[in-house]
């Protein structure tokens, strides 16, 4: 994956505008978070292959970045995005990795379902 360059990622987000797309969105602090530190409040959320359509999409911030997708009746957003990749199947993979490289958040957009 590459570090976010808004000039490269913004047009890729726009490429999917107005299409039926599949979304992978997750955030987590890991299953061991409260095992290693009892003060941690463990929380996470995960949706894979949510089928949506967005009318506008934007990446913003000074890094880590925020990505918001506006739908007819609502919103999707992710905060903490640091890396991106357009994979061989033209899926836009965006991820936020913490200082140790651990995945903290992922937002991925694809025209075909994720396996």
């Amino acid at each position: 994956m590459d570090l976010i360059d808004i000039a490269k990622v913004q047009p890729l987000i726009e490429r999917f505008t107005g299409k039926d797309v599949y979304i992978h969105l997750e955030t987590t602090n890991g299953a061991y978070a409260s095992h290693f530190n009892e003060k941690t409040f463990s929380a996470g959320a995960y949706i894979r292959n949510g089928k949506i359509r967005y009318t506008r999409g934007k990446i913003t911030g000074e890094g880590p970045y925020r990505v918001g997708l506006k739908m007819d009746l609502g919103w999707i957003y992710a905060e903490g995005i640091t890396h991106w990749e357009l994979d061989a199947r033209n899926r836009l993979l965006m991820a936020g990795h913490d200082r140790e490289g651990k995945l903290a958040v992922a937002l991925q957009i694809s025209e075909t379902p994720f396996e």
Partner: protein, 228 residues
């Protein structure tokens, strides 16, 4: 000597931490080992630093690491079960129990190693262990293999007592380190810190590597409890 050992864990690398020395000891003495690994650790958070894997490429990375670990340990029968990381507790428990009963009937193991339900921290670990226990519980008492459980929650010794099986695997220390090393995407950071500690011959770490601890599951005390 065991006739056949069946290891059941949910994630590639679960076998590496507290069990790889035992596995090396079994295969080294000619006991066949089957490892059923339920998922490919698709939701792992370690992606390298800087990251070399993506959410979508991680399963293939971890699959290759698992194959390598099985090779290091001399496991000839590795079964990747195709479930998804972090979803085990949401699966139909009967589906899991059925899979395990089928495997037990097929392999007739003398020993099963899995996680101690309720004492293994990760929800996948607990759900995996609970389904294995339930599968064995349904066998007639005379046909039940021994079940050794791994537990590492903070309260495990307080509630379960001391582990009753302690295996000295010091002879297989290098295989254990090689197994941990095989799971690079998950263990690279850990291994870097560990090598320094090994050089210092740190007692706690050496103890962790050389002795593996298990709790034999006490079916006779729990026959009614685990049914729920």
């Amino acid at each position: 000597m065991e006739k056949h050992v069946l290891i059941i864990f949910p994630h590639p690398d679960d076998e590496a931490f507290g069990v790889s020395g035992s596995i090396a000891q079994f295969t080294g003495s000619g006991t066949p080992v089957t490892y059923m690994c339920l998922t490919l650790g698709e939701m792992g958070r370690n992606m390298g630093n800087p990251p070399f894997a993506t959410r979508e490429s991680l399963p293939e990375v971890r699959k290759q690491e698992l194959l390598k670990a099985a090779d290091v340990l001399g496991i000839k029968d590795l079964r990747m079960m195709g479930l998804r990381d972090k979803t085990i507790e949401f699966e139909d428990p009967e589906k899991l129990v059925g899979i395990f009963i089928d495997a037990i009937n097929e392999l007739d193991p003398s020993l099963i190693i899995t996680f101690y339900p309720g004492y293994s921290v990760h929800p996948d670990h607990d759900a995996c262990g609970a389904a294995v226990i339930e599968a064995v519980r349904r066998l007639p008492e005379s046909k039940r293999p021994k079940v050794e459980c791994v537990a590492f929650s903070h309260n495990c010794e307080e509630e379960l007592g001391k582990p009753d099986v302690i295996r000295d695997v010091s002879k297989f220390m290098n295989k254990k380190l090689d197994t941990l090393d095989a799971h690079k995407s998950q263990t690279a950071g850990l291994m870097a810190g560990m090598k320094k500690r090994l050089q210092a011959n740190e007692e706690e770490l050496m103890n962790w590597i050389q002795f593996e601890r298990f709790w034999t599951y006490p079916f006779e005390n729990n026959d009614e409890k685990t049914g729920s």
